[in-house]
């Protein structure tokens, strides 16, 4: 994997996570002949046209058929290829969750399931197109690794990292075009190893996905209020980095989890599940999507509606911290 120019990363930031994914896959495929892509007729939506133009024999459009997308992917993986099955996150995993479990998880195959537009990015399209619960589903399937990259650079790193990883992986991509470039410089990325984005004493903000950006800004707001906030990029939600959590339990007084996912079964739950085994772990508040179907609205509308903006995260954190 070669390092990537900041100009290109800025371009991907502008274009959005789909382009970051599609272009990263091209770079990966140039290095490895075993990399193939399977798509349920989302070649254009998922920005895979460039990939298809470059590798016409390695892009398999299986038609609008998510269950078979997974079956086909499983067969490719069983025979030693490195398939990436790319769909809209609302449809994969949910629509083909059973296939993902029994074909990829059960047989522990080296297949990658990528959900684009996870969370509320398809806000005006209605609840059929929201992926609020994909991490909850995927975390519950044995053998699966679940990764939610935070910026274009991390998407690139993730695509390359999973190609060398044993076992099935779920990648969920969040954020609208223009999603911030959080890591303009080269950085160390390892599956399962969280990144301490900034140190802090009082509060630990643990975020996953592009909403990390809001967590970072929440920490800056808190700092102005005299509260020191640590920010942790928990890109890998399963297996969760327990070493990092141990450090948080030892050093911080309040945990704030931030995710563009229902508060049931995602990052917040993963942290709470681990925390349940400790007597004196810090309190935790969860910022995420509420347990309800929602009205339609654009991406900003949904992020505000669910308190997933820096000001709201900071306020919630400040209130909880003051009450400690």
């Amino acid at each position: 994997m070669s390092s990537i120019s900041v100009e290109l990363l800025k371009e991907w930031s502008k274009l959005g996570h789909r382009s970051a994914l599609g272009e990263s896959l091209i770079l990966l495929a140039k290095e490895r002949n075993d990399v193939v892509v399977v798509s349920p007729d989302l070649t254009t939506t998922a920005r895979l046209v460039n990939f298809e133009n470059e590798f016409s024999d390695r892009l398999f459009n299986v038609g609008i058929a998510e269950q078979n997308m997974i079956g086909f992917t499983a067969g490719l993986a069983k025979e030693g290829l490195m398939p990436f099955a790319v769909s809209i996150a609302a449809f994969a995993p949910m629509r083909c969750a059973e296939q993902i479990q029994n074909m990829l998880g059960y047989m522990n195959l080296n297949a990658r399931v990528v959900g684009i537009e996870a969370g509320c990015r398809f806000g005006p399209l209605g609840n059929t197109h929201f992926a609020m619960d994909d991490m909850a589903l995927m975390r519950a399937i044995p053998n699966f690794t679940v990764i939610c990259p935070s910026d274009p650079h991390q998407i690139y790193k993730t695509v390359f990292a999973v190609a060398d990883h044993e076992g099935p992986v779920h990648i969920r991509l969040t954020g609208a075009p223009g999603f911030p470039l959080i890591y303009p410089e080269d950085f160390d990325f390892e599956i399962g190893k969280a990144i301490e984005y900034r140190p802090g004493i009082d509060i630990a903000i643990i975020a996953t996905g592009s909403v990390l950006w809001e967590g970072i800004h929440a920490a800056e707001i808190l700092e102005k209020n005299g509260i020191s906030a640590r920010v942790i990029d928990m890109h890998t939600v399963k297996p969760i980095d327990v070493k990092m959590l141990d450090s948080v339990f030892a050093q911080n007084k309040l945990i704030v989890t931030v995710e563009e996912h229902t508060i049931i079964g995602g990052l917040g739950s993963a942290v709470a599940e681990y925390k349940a085994g400790f007597n004196n772990a810090p309190n935790q508040i969860m910022c995420g999507l509420g347990d309800r179907f929602r009205k339609i609205g654009n991406y900003d509308f949904h992020m505000k509606d669910n308190g997933l903006v820096a000001e709201d995260i900071a306020e919630k954190a400040r209130n909880a911290f003051t009450e400690l």
């Binding site: 193939v36 024999d57 390695r58 398999f60 299986v62 038609g63 058929a65 269950q67 078979n68 997974i70 079956g71 086909f72 992917t73 499983a74 067969g75 490719l76 993986a77 069983k78 025979e79 030693g80 290829l81 059973e98 296939q99 029994n102 074909m103 059960y106 047989m107």
Partner: protein
């Protein structure tokens, strides 16, 4: 090998395989077994393993082996019986069928050292995986074939048709799918539960479709499979095979009660008696 001799040998094997099916199912005691759907496809599985497929029990992961996928995973008894007969699974493991921690699960669980290629049991899964395996072989320029056994009831599943259309699109002529048409599914006849014109559908999916009138006749099954295996028609192959549910055991034949059921000692003895009788008749011929 001379064809008639090969047919005779495979017939011989099907008799042992049926015995092993009964032994395994009886060993599972009150857990029972899917006798009916396994017994219907014994000749199909035996013909594949002992007359058609290129494989080596001493080298289960031989790269150029033909792949076998039992998509109707509940018929695992027939699959295990073939693997026992071929030498992948030691015969001593028969009593372990459905036992605690056993590798002989009620539905196949991938285990390459024992020749179990793919985990199946969720209907339609194996077939979709087989299509992907065939595509991978084509992409990699490998010449082995993928053989997949699908049930007629299993063809209720939507994924079967998603995958069938996709296989036709990619012209997977290295994929040979055998549809075991025993006429029954869990709660009734296929005609009653979901009447499907399988012939019309497989043809409409643009597969190369062949037929066998008596899928419990080794000669018919073997000859047709050999013919398809050596053909190049640029399409995936569907072989529609009429069989008898519960074939070979008098009280199980066409009896829905033995789609999945336990058998008691009396039934076990009757089943063995049926198999002894069939064997005696064959030897007399």
């Amino acid at each position: 090998m001379e064809l008639n001799k090969q047919i005779a040998e495979i017939r011989d094997k099907t008799e042992r395989m049926r015995r092993d099916c009964i032994e395994m199912g009886y060993a599972a005691a009150k857990e029972g077994a899917h006798f009916g759907p396994a017994l219907s496809c014994v000749e199909i599985v035996a013909s594949l393993f002992f007359g058609v497929m290129h494989h080596d029990p001493k080298n289960p992961e031989m790269p150029d082996r033909d792949r076998f996928v039992m998509s109707k995973g509940h018929a695992c008894l027939a699959y295990y019986a073939a693997l026992i007969e071929a030498g992948y699974i030691p015969r001593e493991m028969i009593p372990q069928f459905k036992g605690n921690n056993s590798i002989l699960c009620g539905h196949p669980s991938m285990n390459m050292p024992y020749g179990i290629e793919v985990s199946t049991g969720s209907l339609g899964s194996g077939f979709a995986i087989a299509c992907g395996m065939a595509k991978a072989a084509m992409y990699k320029g490998e010449s082995h074939k993928v053989f997949c056994v699908v049930g007629d009831g299993e063809c209720n599943e939507g994924i079967i048709w998603e995958a069938a259309l996709n296989a036709a699109k990619y012209e997977l002529d290295n994929l040979i799918t055998i549809v075991d048409i025993n006429g029954f599914q869990l709660s009734g006849t296929t005609l009653k539960i979901m009447p499907i014109n399988l012939d019309a559908l497989w043809n409409a999916a643009d597969w190369d479709v062949s037929y066998i009138e008596n899928g419990n006749d080794v000669e018919q099954v073997l000859k047709t499979l050999m013919e398809i295996n050596n053909s190049e028609r640029g399409k995936p192959h569907a072989l529609l095979v009429k069989t008898t549910k519960g074939k070979g055991i008098s009280f199980m034949e066409n009896n829905l009660a033995f789609h999945a059921a336990p058998i008691n000692q009396e039934q076990y003895e009757q089943a063995i008696q049926d198999l002894d009788k069939a064997e005696a008749i064959r030897k007399a011929q």
